[in-house]
Each structure stands twice: as structure tokens, then as C-alpha cells.
Symmetry: C2
């Protein structure tokens, strides 16, 4: 009795064109990370449940896949790459030395309620610098974000930068420090629900008085300035209100000074309303939006966090890092036509009578840098050309007796049906210039 | 109370230098697969347990990680990439079309008894052509193996080729068809235990008579010939004995004819004693050994199998594929010094007083194709140079006031301690030519 072939609910296969587009994107990202000297690390998908428990939000804890293994150990599938990084760093810190930089691209698992576009297994892509308080590290992570997106062909994107210390300082000045998390949660929705609804929620849900709300809103409006110098002039008057506030603003000034002329000014800005979720971050934070696809949300977010390894060690190691939302970024690249879900090969060879000659020509073209598929059987051309067509090949190379005799090949444009007799050299030149 | 940071028993972290070497190897393999037009696919790490059950050996079934998920579904972690491929093909075959080529690199899980060098999570790397009986497909997989190893810098390796039909035919001729599996299991050990022990086991364990044993051993000795033409002359007399035997020999002849001049003759040979495990394979099979590291065992094995998707569908889809043992191959490459476990960066910049200037120079060098790490904080050079030393950097670029003023940089060779004043241009030329 055959078993119905099906994917587990909430999980997804990637068909060749999807997997190939993702693989091209990841290749480019790896090159960017490595150009800054970040090496990869790998940790297992499975960990002792104890390592992953009591970390992440309550929701994530509920969604964790955990079970007993063959040795009756409580084990769990990782739900992010940050907790394994903390465990890794605590375990090898003497060997690794500090500061420690690494990137990691890997799959994580969360048994979320099934919803459109959200899967229970997805790929995370993180890069972090651990063990340094230098604003240089914050600056470098932002440079890596810039380089990663730039190398993918993106030009119009904005890295929005803020500092959690500023908002914490403001709340402290207003004696609202016990409500910081709730206030942040509401302000975080400003782009979705608008300023008026934010005011209303601050007043009705959190019972903030009008004066405090106006003070907060006035502050958040500063983001409209855009210009980096202008913004620090406006922030000057807040510096004296609270020491945390002062520290946060000073850090942003230092960061902006470091970034100037290192990455183009149009690609980053101070945005005092971004909050970057809850808990976790303690210093400079950032979110990256594609200017032409604002609705997509942030494609790369991150920030500074204190005390990463506190669950595993009494050492205090802080760090700064960011995470690229791979699926979201891929959707953005596809929508901007910066990545095409196509074939890895530039052309397909269709042998009409001599498979061996097809392999010979393919070998020659590959040695000259092209990717070449061979239809590996002599069949009626109708069948092999149909295959080429189904795979969306633009170019088919047809090899028959005549071509073999004259040492030529017939290059067929599958889009318009035209075909010409070519040499190896002219084919190389056409295929190298005309894309796939 | 801190939790002891530790990896699950039988699992392994990859430290930066290990993960980087593996990532370089995988990048090269992907380029090789894609040069033949193979696209990647991705399937989830988790599947319905039903999909994975009753497949693979009894041992693998016992080692499978399975549990109930949040929705009370019986789920399991994949133990190979072949069963998910069968499920995938059965599920999407109309969409994908045949023949279907793909590669897949991913982690699989087996709760094996812990033993040296064997882990419960490891990476598999498979490439297959499904849905064609053409010997062209067998030939192409062998070409991909050759190209993959060649592109990794290997020259001296041998793809040992055999055909299961030949041995099945021999046993059938001797009326030993019911003992084929047991005989193969013993012959498979020929390289480990030697010819005499094989004879003894065939006689004592399987009760084969001396005449049949001599006949089998005579046959296996043919492998000593080496030369492709010579071997087929020797095989001529066996052709008439059995139709399967004849078919198997004819297929090998066709394959050798296709391979001639496509891959160098020193890199493949007919080896009638390889058996490639049990069950599963039904036609041409191969194992690849590194000539300079015979003890390593096969780094890439595969063959033809019938009826891949029989558990999921009544359609009969055969295929041919191979699997690279990534960990073993990596060990081989490292041992032959063809891959070095080092830093992704060519050099590290040590800023003595101006971090911003360091970023500027780094940016310039990166734009010229170098990978450059920056020590992201102005500290005492003793500390930053120690960091560079710990990370085994050969080159450090030291930037102080003098360098900034004169638009130069100090390039320090960390191995011999020598240092010189250089320009950006001369540094580029040195670093591009001198390796890391």
C-alpha cells in the first residue's frame, strides 16, 4: 500500500528554482561576511533541552520541539542561532579568544501555529562580534549589513539606527521606567497604526498623562529631521535630563562619526522610533528597510546586547550582532528582479545522434567557464527540446552529424525559435554576454 | 545556577577553522554540480515518521530519531537524503518532469552507538539523475565525480567501476542466486581481509564448493588487468554464460566507450570486486579512492538503482546517483594540504589611534578584492597583535599617525616579524600574491 508523499504540516520543500535562488543569495552573503574576516561556525541542530530551556520568550519555549533520545536524554531542536552561540562561546571562550566574530547560517525550528508565509522550519543568518564594548563593533556590523545588501545588487535601502539607552533614559526621566516594555511595545507599532493610535493606546492602555505623551511624541518626531547633524543639535537639550539618555546620544554621535564617508549617507539614518522588539537589546539597535519595498518590513535587524552567556557562566560577555531575514530578503530581491529563479546552466546540449560528441563539446564549454547541461540520451528532438523548454532554457545547443563533421554547433534561441550555426568561440562569446 | 555548556553526546561543534574549511569545500562542490546544470533542492529536516519508516536498513530504522510533535503527529528527523528525494519526486514529478537532476547537501541524523569519528548528525552530499535508463546518465554522474574532485585540486584518484548485474549473473550461472547477498558481503571485504580469507569464508560460512569458489576468484582476479580494452577481451568468455552477465558486461563496455577521452584514463578503472554494500543498487556502481590515501576508503560512491519511489507510487522511476562523504573527503584534502583551515581574511588591520582611518583603508582594500579584518578598537598594539597572532594571521597592517599623514601603511609579516612601509598598491600586489 503506497504511502501518500507529503510534507509535514507547516514545513516546506524548496523546488529547484527556489533552492537555486536561495543558494545564490547565500553565496553572496557568505562572500560579504568573509570579506570582513568573519569565519563561519557550525553547531548541531539538536541540543540538550536544558541548554535551550528558559531562554527566548515564553512563546518560543512553548513552540520548542523537544523529546527523549535513544539514551533517554531530554533533547530539543534549536529555535534560534543565538542560544547555541551563547553555549558555544561559554564552552570554547578560552580557545577562541575575544573579541570573537562569526557568522552562522542554519535552520531553526518553532512549532508555531500555522499561518500564511510562516514555516515551522526556517533558515536564520546571523553575524556577531562578541566580547567588546567598542562602538567600533557596532559600526562594523552596520558596515557588514551595508556590504551584504550592496553586493546583492541593492542600492536603495535604509539602515535605521537607534539606541535603547535613549528611550530607557527618557522613561527614567519621566519616572516611567517600570512601563518601558509596554510603552516600547506600543511605540513599535507606530508605522503600522499611526501616531494618533499610538497616543490613544499610551493614554488608554497605559494611563500615561497628556504631558508625558506629548513629551514622548515630541521626541519621536525628531526622526523627521533625517540629517545626521541636524538631529544631534535637536537632541542636545535632552542630554542634560538623564545620564543614560546622555550616554545613548553620545554613543549614536560616535557611531555616526565613524560611519561618515565609510557608507553612503543615503543608506543610514537615525530613527528614534524604532524599538526592535523587547528585552534582549541594551544599546544601539538597527532595522533595515528596502526603500522601494517599505511594506516588506526589516530585512536585517540587530543591535547590542549585554551578558550573552549569563546562563552558562559568570563571565560577562557583551556583543553586537545582526540577523538577515533570508526568506524576506529573497522575496525582496525577486520582487526587484535582482535575483532570478532560473537554471544553474547557461545552455543545454541536445545530442541528435552521438552522445559522446555532446560530452566532448560540453567539456570544452565548461572549461571555458560556462555551465552546461547535457540531455543524456539520444532521443527524438521533439522530446529533448520539450525538456529544454520546460526548464526555461533560453539557449539550446543542437549537435547532429553535420555539426560534428564541420566542427560547429547549432545554437537555438528557445525564446524566438531562431537558430544559427556557430563555432565554439562564437558560442562562448554569445553565451557569456547574453545571460541565461 | 549556571548550566554547564556542552554538546549533546555524539554531536559535534565546528570551530571557525573547521567550519571555514568545510564551507570552502562545499562552495567548490556546488560550482562543480552547477557546471553540469544540476540545481539544488531543499527538503525539511523533519518528515512524517511514516515517510521514513520501513526504509533503509533495520539498523538505520533503530537509529532513527522519532517523536510526537505539538499536533500529536508522529515525526522523525531524516536519516539520509535519498528517502526524502523519493518522497519529493513522487510528490512533484508532474511539475518537475523527467529526467530530473538535482544535488542536495544537508544534515542527517542517526542515533548510532557512539564511536570514534562517527557522529549522530553529519552532512550528506548527494547528486542524482532520475527517470532515465540511459547509460549516459551513469556516464554523467561519473563525469560529475571527476570534475568535483578535480576542482578541489585532486589529481590522483581512481573511480572504481563495476556492475551489479555481472555478479548477479555469475551467481545465477552457478545456481547461487539465493546467496548473492551473503557472497557479496564477504567479497566486499576483499581489500580488508585479503583473498585467502575471502576463500575461507566462502567455503566455511557459505559452504560453497571449491570449484565455484575458484570460478568466482578467477573472475575477481580480472581486475588486475587494469586496461579497459584488455579487460573486455578477458570478459568475452563470460558473456555467453548468462543473459544478465552479458547485459552487465555490455553496459560496462558502453560506459567505458562514453568515458574515453572525456575523463583521463588514469582516473577510472573497471574493478570487478567492488560490491557497494547490499540491496539498493541494481546496475553500474562505483567507489572512488584517493591514490595517495588508500586507507581513507571511498570518498564518493554511488550507482544505479531501480524503482526509487515504489513506497509512494506505482510509477517505476529508476535513477543513478552518487554521494560524497564530506567529512572523509575534507580529512583527505587536509591531509594532502589541498585545503587549509585558516582565516577567511588575507590580513588584519591594527589601528593605533584612528579607527575611522582603519575602516577607510579596509574599505579600499576590500573593493580591490581582498578580505580584510579590522581590529575594531584602539588598544595597546601588544593586545591587538596578540589577537592577530592567536588567529594565525600571516599579515598585519599597522596604521598609526605617521601612516595616515603619509598615506602609507606598515605591513608586518607576523611569521618572521619583519615590517615594511607600503602603499595601498604595493600591499595589494603583495597580499594577492603571497596568500594568507
Amino acid at each position: 500500500m503506497p504511502i501518500t508523499p507529503r510534507t509535514l504540516s507547516g514545513f516546506k520543500d524548496k523546488l529547484p528554482h527556489e533552492a537555486y535562488a536561495k543558494s545564490k543569495m547565500i553565496k553572496s552573503l557568505i562572500e560579504s561576511f568573509e570579506s570582513f574576516g568573519f569565519p563561519p561556525i557550525e553547531t548541531p541542530h539538536l541540543e540538550y533541552a536544558e541548554i535551550l530551556k528558559k531562554q527566548g520568550s515564553d512563546e518560543i519555549q512553548k513552540e520548542m520541539y523537544h523529546f527523549k533520545d535513544h539514551g533517554d536524554r531530554e533533547v530539543a531542536l534549536r529555535f534560534d542561532l543565538t542560544v547555541p552561540l551563547a553555549r558555544f562561546l561559554a564552552q570554547y571562550k578560552n580557545e577562541l579568544g575575544l573579541p570573537f566574530k562569526r557568522y552562522c547560517i542554519g535552520n531553526v525550528f518553532r512549532g508555531e501555529r500555522a499561518q500564511r508565509g510562516r514555516y515551522r522550519e526556517f533558515t536564520q543568518c546571523d553575524f556577531d562580534i562578541l566580547g567588546t564594548n567598542s562602538i567600533g563593533a557596532d559600526c562594523e556590523i552596520i558596515q557588514v549589513i551595508y556590504a551584504s545588501l550592496k553586493n546583492l545588487g541593492l542600492e536603495n535601502f535604509t539602515i535605521n539606527i537607534n539606541n535603547r539607552k535613549i528611550f530607557n533614559g527618557l522613561c527614567s526621566y519621566l519616572s516611567l521606567e517600570n512601563q518601558v516594555v509596554e510603552i516600547l511595545r506600543i511605540i513599535d507599532k507606530i508605522d503600522k497604526i499611526g501616531l494618533d493610535s499610538v497616543k490613544l493606546e499610551l493614554s488608554e492602555k497605559l494611563k500615561l498623562n497628556d504631558k508625558d505623551i506629548e513629551f514622548l511624541i515630541d521626541f519621536l518626531n525628531i526622526k523627521q529631521e533625517g540629517c545626521t547633524n541636524g538631529i544631534f543639535t535637536k537632541l542636545e537639550k535632552y542630554k542634560i535630563l538623564d545620564s543614560k539618555l546622555q550616554e545613548g546620544i553620545a554613543e549614536l554621535e560616535e557611531l555616526c562619526n565613524l560611519l561618515e564617508n565609510i557608507i553612503p549617507s543615503k543608506n543610514y539614518k537615525i530613527n528614534l522610533s524604532i524599538a526592535r522588539g523587547l528585552g534582549y537589546y541594551t544599546g544601539i539597535i538597527y532595522e533595515t528597510t528596502l526603500d522601494d519595498l517599505q511594506d516588506l518590513g526589516s530585512v536585517c535587524s540587530g543591535g547590542r546586547y549585554d551578558n550573552l552567556i549569563s546562563n552558562f557562566s559568570s563571565d560577562n560577555i557583551s556583543g553586537v550582532g545582526a540577523s538577515i531575514g533570508l526568506d524576506r530578503l529573497l522575496a525582496g530581491l525577486e520582487s526587484l528582479q535582482l535575483i532570478k529563479a532560473n537554471n544553474p546552466a547557461n545552455a543545454i546540449i541536445i545530442p541528435l545522434n552521438n552522445l559522446k560528441y555532446a560530452y566532448k563539446i560540453a567539456k570544452n564549454l565548461r572549461e571555458n567557464g560556462l555551465n552546461i547541461e547535457v540531455y543524456g540520451e539520444v532521443v527524438k528532438p521533439k522530446k529533448s527540446l520539450q525538456y529544454a523548454n520546460n526548464k526555461n532554457y533560453k539557449w539550446a545547443i543542437i549537435l547532429g552529424e553535420e555539426e560534428e563533421k564541420t566542427n560547429t554547433l547549432t545554437l537555438k534561441n528557445m525564446l524566438d525559435g531562431s537558430q544559427n550555426t556557430e563555432t565554439i568561440e562564437s558560442t562562448l562569446s554569445i553565451l557569456n554576454n547574453c545571460g541565461k
